[in-house]
């Protein structure tokens, strides 16, 4: 009896420890997606909202540090960072022991440990042409022996999952080796890319076409309930191994608060996450007003209701304890010129002068002040803040300067006619066409372009079409000018510079900019590991792009996140989108519900 009693005590003690560690089911976080999710098979979906959910269900080999900026890679399912050898061609990962998939009928009652083989299998699923994965481009052409299998699968109609691919091998249960065709230091970002989390073959086979509704992973959350297009409910994974919140703050004062609230806690803390799909800005805004949402990215239209004349958050909100997180998103907005166009394209000096005059003539200040209502900052280089390669001291040489733009056009013989508009140096009419869409916001931009160009005597007209049609035409090098935006897939300048790389014409280089010197610089940077020397190459590429007048670089957009006082530990991550994995909800603070 006595002994038995001790056992009981021991068990009770364990239970107490477990409940202290596990998430509290009474801690509920309510957030909203502005766009409908598509499904939860990470191999097949490309939208960032579905991937937000996938991010907390599946474990990647690597992930990102929550606070470090630029985002820093840290191990997740891997025990440590990979051993990189052979000049960045071989990656050796050690998988952590004791990671288990959440129990599912597909495992037939067995406890199922995550192994190196699961990653090999998952990567093969990305390559399988039958899955039509939007992420296949991240591994295609990179891994030794993989392309041959893809080719064979295209021919035979089915991918041979049994075949050994020399480029990705599970050396033993916990060791995984990748061999690449060429040195690529960015491969680490591929394995950290949120969709690349390990899946179990049994689950994929068991659910078949139903897999989108049965995401079985090993991460901190499980999908509890899914009402398509309406509501997604996540619950903390009761079998999750857990981790202790211990991230180093950066110089940002915001981090101090985050660290104070979170350090030392066993994660995850939030027991239940309720995600509502609310597409209308106004409905989302009202839901936040009614305290039905715990945090919200402020839609730009409602900015004046939050900010006072001093550009600080209104007293009405601070009285409620609402805090504001302001950050710059890792994105750039730009307008490109088509280098194959007979009017604005090419590398002749007068064409370069025309493009640069157009860039210098565009009144960016008014875009930020009037159209964007200060929810943006000027982008000085193609790499935004928070991404490796960004240089805060760099200033673009093509600043707004209509006087200089006029002089430049005069110098190169773009003479002004009687109507105030310039002609080409050979006397032919000069008309610049910009592609656009028909939304109200586009009209604002068109008006700004129109008056900016009128001020330097360049006649500009706007061709209205649908976004998808414009994109198609751009990829075929058929648009003269078009506005675009790009958000980081991974926190490295490479992701942005590839937009200007000649051979990417037809894929992402929509300006069809093919500069020999830019391409040489880019190719040089491709095989270098992240370093100050490589950052210098990014600056050279930026300057090359500027002297050629390839882009009119506009802004990086600002994010204003409103947060209710009971939400702890929020900080927007540039790459990860499921911040709630690292957050807490103070149940005592939730009042007035």
């Amino acid at each position: 009896m006595y002994g038995g009693f001790r056992v009981v005590i021991a068990v009770l003690g364990l239970a107490a420890a477990a409940s202290a560690a596990a998430a509290d089911p009474s801690k509920v976080l309510r957030i909203a997606f502005p766009v409908q999710e598509t499904g939860f098979d990470p191999v097949r979906v490309s939208d960032s909202y579905s991937n937000t959910v996938n991010e907390v269900i599946f474990d990647r080999l690597l992930t990102y540090d929550y606070l470090a900026r630029p985002a820093k890679l840290v191990p997740l399912a891997a025990e440590t960072m990979p051993e990189i050898s052979d000049n960045g061609r071989t990656y050796l990962f050690k998988i952590r022991r004791g990671i288990y998939f959440t129990p599912d009928p597909a495992f037939k009652g067995q406890k199922r440990e995550l192994t190196a083989e699961d990653f090999v299998y998952t990567f093969k699923r990305f390559a399988d042409p039958k899955n039509r994965s939007p992420w296949a481009f991240m591994i295609e052409g990179k891994i030794e022996g993989l392309d041959e299998q893809i080719e064979a699968a295209r021919k035979n109609g089915s991918f041979n999952y049994k075949a050994t691919i020399p480029g990705m091998v599970a050396l033993d249960k916990y060791t995984l080796r990748f061999k690449l065709k060429a040195p690529d230091y960015l491969f680490q970002y591929t394995v950290a890319h949120p969709p690349f989390g390990a899946m179990a073959r049994e689950v994929v086979d068991a659910y078949g076409d139903d897999l989108q509704g049965h995401p079985i992973g090993s991460g901190p959350y499980i999908l509890k309930e899914w009402k398509r297009g309406t509501k997604i409910t996540l619950e903390a994974n009761p079998d999750y191994r857990g981790f202790v919140w211990d991230f180093e703050p950066t110089a940002d004062p915001w981090d101090q608060e985050v660290v104070k609230a979170m350090r030392g806690k066993m994660m995850p803390q939030i027991g239940r996450v309720e995600i509502s799909i609310i597409e209308e800005d106004q409905s989302r805004w009202l839901a936040f007003n009614q305290k039905e949402l715990d945090y919200l990215a402020l839609p730009a239209t409602f900015r004046p209701q939050v900010f006072g004349a001093d550009n600080k958050i209104n007293k009405q909100w601070t009285d409620q304890g609402v805090t504001l997180y302001r950050g710059i998103d890792p994105d750039i907005v730009y307008t490109f010129f088509n280098f194959r166009d007979p009017i604005v394209g090419g590398f002749a000096k007068e064409k370069i002068a025309l493009r640069r005059a157009i860039i210098m003539g565009y009144n960016l200040d008014e875009e930020i002040r009037i159209i964007r209502k200060y929810q943006a900052v000027q982008a000085q280089m193609p790499i935004p803040v928070g991404v490796v390669g960004y240089d805060p001291n760099y200033r673009s040489i093509n600043q707004y300067d209509p006087v200089l733009a006029n002089k430049l056009l005069d110098y190169f013989g773009y003479k002004k006619g009687r109507d105030g508009y310039r002609t080409l140096p050979d006397g032919k009419p000069l008309v610049v066409h910009q592609a656009t869409e028909s939304a109200a916001i586009n009209r604002d931009f068109n008006e700004l372009w129109k008056k900016s160009m009128d001020a330097i005597g360049v006649r500009i007209v706007f061709d209205v079409s649908k976004f998808a049609d414009n994109l198609k035409a751009a990829k075929a090098c058929q648009l003269m000018m078009w506005g675009a935006a790009w958000t980081a897939d991974y926190p490295d300048g490479d992701n942005f510079m590839q937009l200007l790389y000649g051979p990417n014409t037809g894929q992402s280089n929509n300006g069809c900019y093919e500069s020999k010197s830019f391409d040489a610089l880019y190719e040089k940077s491709r095989v270098m590991s992240p370093s100050p020397e490589r950052n210098l190459l990014f600056l050279d590429m930026t300057r090359q792009m500027e002297v050629d007048g390839a882009w009119s670089l506009h802004v990086s957009r600002e994010r204003n996140q409103l947060i209710r006082p009971w939400v702890k530990g929020y900080k927007k991550h540039p790459i990860l989108s499921a911040e709630f994995e690292y957050m807490d909800v103070d149940t005592r603070g939730v009042s007035g519900l």
């Binding site: 239209t301 550009n311 900052v377 001291n393 760099y394 200033r395 110098y411 028909s438 009209r443 604002d444």
Partner: protein, 397 residues
Amino acid sequence: MPHDIPLKSATLTPREVPHTVSPGLWTLAWRRLKTDYVGTVSLAIVAIFVALMILSGFGLIASDWSKETGVNYAPPSFLGADYEGGTPAAPAEPAAAPPTASEYKSQIVDPIGDVIAQLKAGKAPSEVPAAPAEEEKSVDPLADIMAEIRGGKGAKKEATAPIEERKATLPLGGDKWGRDVLKKTIKGSETSIFVGIASAIVATFLGTAFGALAGYYGRWVDDVFNWFYSVFSSIPYLLLVLAVAAVLQQKGILTIILILGLTGWTGTFRLLRAEYLKHKAREYVQAADALGASNVRRMFMHIFPNVSHVVLVQMSILVVAFIKSEVILSFLGFGVPVDVVSWGSMLNEAQNELILGKWWQLAAAGTAMAILVTAFALFTDALRDALDPKLKGRLGS
């Protein structure tokens, strides 16, 4: 009021047949209209608007509407400059630090760097020596840095219109660029009324021509037109408008006129077809037939004058409808191009402004449109009354 019959003598020479000139339809109508107080006032208002349209069309007024005279969202003068704190303030923290000399020394060759450097240094384009021929490649690799040193420091940009000169208030307020809403409204009336009248002419012409052909010829011609009409009117109006807009693929006033004209003829067609059906059996048409008048002559010289009052009323109704339609089209983004202002484009801009509490553009364009449309509609009513001879009791004698 019939003219007095001159009673000169009891015996009349054949040449002096007593001529009772009874006033024509139009004279009578005009007299009836004059007695209609509401109709006269509406006509005066419409006339004022048309006068504004013509004046601004010839550039006599509001030609400088696109000039940015006020501050961004300048409130109307009668509210005062302090209304709602005026313009949104700049961020408290400096938006961008003043350009500091970067550590970065570029090795990149700027092909037009030397030209830019000299222009920046204040030289006129004519003073700068001609660009060296492409082969020479004698480009100063330090050109950019030189330019930055010479031009970047202290050299203030000459902005197109300094903010200081801008007015804090405008008579009816300003839009987001600081343009005068009053002038925009006048300029917008030009577009809106012109579009309304021009597309009404197109639609009425089509409706009349089709109606005349169908009603006059009857049989298979009538069947064809009726079939066409039925198909046409079975398509939802907005869908039809968007389809025509998609086919024309071009933004501009002419496009809007065509869109509205090509889709708006159906009502006129039905009415005119009925009128022609009725009239072609009348004695005067049969008489004309007996005299050997051709079909076209009978249709347009004999019947048309007798149904023209219907056409006129139809046209007035369409003008009103099309002014509203232009607003809807512009609101949907299918409207006028960027450098043209219309009431529709103003209302389109206003949808976002309203959330910010800047209601004056909406008020100005909305009021102007409401007044014109109401006046035009009342005028049309009066016109119909005046032209309908069956309406008795109005004619003062």
